[in-house]
């Protein structure tokens, strides 16, 4: 009887210690940075994306597979579609992390259109600690320019939407899409220097520029 009790106690204690150890292992994964960003923290949009050669001025084509070499990772976007990508608040903050930091005078050229919930709303664009605000009014894709002055070295570009982004199907009842959409982005380009000097700016409407 005593032997049986002793064995039971040993098994119970052994299992308890084993489960504690497993819990510790679960909380401390030993994985690559890429794996952690994509599978655990969900801040990266692609697992081992194909890298294609491109300059900052050529930008990110959201409809193309993979990422340009100057982008480390993306977060807060929905899946890739032929024309580009929607931002989706269910996938975390909309953020682009660059492989190298940007500084000085930088012009951002974004071709996008807003989701129904974001039409006419002030959207904050932050490059490092510098913030600008843009308003997207139209339903069609247009180029929007944002100029950042004397930017301190920054690796992260972030789009911040006002309030809580609602699911699209709660704004447009005829739309079954339940994603929390913000902007539909076709491309995003970056020019070193003033937006006035940027080649794309010369062909686009200045009305979309929002200097702060």
């Amino acid at each position: 009887m005593r032997l049986k009790t002793t064995i039971s106690v040993v098994i119970a204690l052994g299992l308890s210690v084993f489960y504690c150890a497993i819990l510790l292992l679960a909380l401390n994964p030993r994985v690559s940075e890429e794996y952690r960003a994509y599978y655990i923290e969900r801040i990266s949009m692609e697992w081992k994306p194909v890298r294609y050669a491109a300059m900052l001025e050529e930008g990110i084509a959201f409809g193309a597979p993979g990422l340009p070499v100057f982008v480390k990772n993306l977060s807060g976007f929905s899946f890739r579609e032929g024309w580009g990508r929607w931002t989706d608040a269910d996938h975390g903050p909309t953020r682009i992390v660059f492989a190298d930091s940007l500084d000085g005078l930088v012009c951002l050229d974004l071709k996008a259109r807003p989701a129904n919930s974001m039409k006419g709303k002030l959207i904050t664009v932050a490059l490092g600690d510098q913030q600008k605000q843009i308003i997207l009014r139209g339903s069609d894709f247009s180029d929007y320019f944002v100029e950042f002055f004397e930017t301190r070295p920054a690796e992260t570009l972030e789009f911040r939407f006002p309030g809580t982004v609602p699911p699209e199907n709660t704004v447009d009842l005829s739309n079954p899409d339940s994603r929390r959409l913000g902007l539909a982005m076709v491309y995003l380009r970056l020019f070193r220097g003033s937006c006035a000097a940027a080649p794309a700016m010369r062909n686009a409407s200045k009305g979309n520029t929002v200097p702060n």
């Binding site: 098994i11 308890s16 489960y19 292992l25 679960a26 599978y39 697992w47 899946f79 079954p176």
Partner: protein
């Protein structure tokens, strides 16, 4: 022969026949006149081994009808599924010419585990890996592959069919307290063998193995066989993630039947060890994954590759009901499942109710896809259906019509390429 002698003979006879015939109950209830007539006709047969029928009744198989009933139902289920697959082949050229052709969708994921082991890192279809396919079923199928020397797809299909036999058998054990005669054995077993989603037990999926182990675990815990029940729980947690929920059911049974105070006072270590055994299967799998990939809960993290993120299951239910078509059908199934959990609670079976509710809500916290098979391959769900139909006999025909219709439709859809069957 006086009445007392007759009664003694009856009881001897009744003890030899499993299940006991209903007229024995009548005798015990004191309906002497009716029983006397039956005694005169039936009693001699019970004591004459020369009759094949009586010999069978007294044999081991006669005393354990679930063993052969499960086999009969397994064969009938196999015939049903292969017949409709053949019809689909004749009618629209469904790619079914041999048994292994049933191995599609998730079965092909299990095949990668059986043939190649678990992935070291995600590389399938871009960012996917086979970690969410728990190890017990591929191990079970690997045994058939090695013993029979057949390719993995056929081994998986055979393994799921054999598991269906165990599923019917253990479900009959689980509901044995509710069964009165052979016809009820067939009806209860038929709920498993002709489940609306029975297809998955012929297609190399883990559902029948999961169901069999869950039914066994509930049977054992009901008999206070704590350690055996804990071992079954461990196997269950190595079959599917929701298998871990059995720990809660186990705990409920312990607390209701024994009570926390008594467990502590009497130092009932068997109960504690049984409880601690329940999640062992999953814990061992986690340890293995940590060793292989560095991530002990890789089976959860890999869900990103299927665009699944943890969320509120009630939001998923609301969305399902708002959308026309299959999402609404599945939404109605969810409500039926939750209603069944409520019914089980009313029947004072909280351990089954909690397990069923958890098994519904846990997968829904990710998304709706694949939900029907998660629901219809839960022993508490079929237990609830059986107890309901037993109470309302006239509903059997309606249920059977819908179940058989759905089961045959699913077989045909299986080969059509649509992902509603995933």
């Amino acid at each position: 022969m006086d009445l007392e002698k007759l009664k003694q003979n009856w009881e001897t006879f009744a003890s030899l026949v499993v299940p006991p015939p209903s007229f024995v109950t009548e005798l015990r209830a004191g309906s002497d006149t009716i029983c006397l007539e039956r005694v005169i006709i039936e009693t001699p047969a019970a004591f004459l081994p020369a009759s094949p029928k009586s010999w069978f009744r007294r044999s081991w198989l006669g005393k354990h009808p679930e063993v052969w009933i499960a086999l009969v139902l397994l064969m009938a289920s196999h015939l049903f599924v292969s017949t409709f697959a053949k019809f689909a082949h004749w009618q629209f050229g469904a790619p079914y010419t041999r048994t292994a052709d049933f191995c599609r969708w998730d079965c092909t994921w299990f095949r990668t585990v059986v043939d190649e082991g678990y992935d070291l890192e995600p590389h399938r279809y871009g960012d996917k890996a086979d970690w969410s396919f728990f190890p017990l079923f591929p191990l079970w199928a690997k045994t058939f592959k090695l013993v029979l020397g057949v390719p993995a797809p056929l081994a998986l299909v055979v393994a799921s069919k054999v598991a269906l036999y165990a599923a019917i058998l253990f479900f009959l054990w689980m509901v044995r307290g509710e069964l009165e005669d052979l016809s009820e054995y067939f009806l209860a077993g038929g709920l498993v063998a002709f489940n609306p989603y029975v297809l998955y037990s012929h297609a190399g999926y883990s559902e029948p193995l999961y169901f069999a182990i869950a039914a066994l675990a509930f049977f054992l815990v009901d008999k206070n066989r704590w350690i055996e029940s804990g071992i079954a729980g461990a196997l269950l947690s190595a079959t599917r993630i929701v298998g871990c929920l059995f720990s809660i059911s186990y705990l409920i049974v312990c607390l209701r039947r024994v009570g926390f105070g008594r467990i502590v006072r009497e130092r009932n270590l068997a109960i504690v060890v049984g409880l601690l055994l329940c999640p062992l299967g999953m814990a061992l799998y986690m340890l293995y994954l940590y060793h292989l990939t560095g991530d002990a809960i890789a089976f959860i993290h890999i869900q990103v590759a299927w665009n699944r993120a943890p969320g509120n299951p009630f939001v998923v239910i609301a969305h399902a009901l708002q959308h026309h078509g299959w999402p609404r059908v599945w939404g109605i199934m969810i409500l039926a499942g939750l209603a069944a959990a409520g019914w089980l609670l009313k029947q004072r079976r909280p351990e089954l109710a909690v397990f069923l509710a958890g098994a519904i809500l846990v997968p829904l916290s990710a998304d709706l896809w694949g939900f029907p098979r998660y629901l219809w391959w839960q022993p508490p769900m079929l237990y609830a259906i059986f107890t309901l139909l037993k109470r309302h006999r006239t509903w059997w025909i309606i249920y059977v019509a819908f179940a058989a219709g759905m089961a045959s439709f699913m077989v045909i859809e299986w080969f059509s390429g649509t992902n509603i069957v995933v």
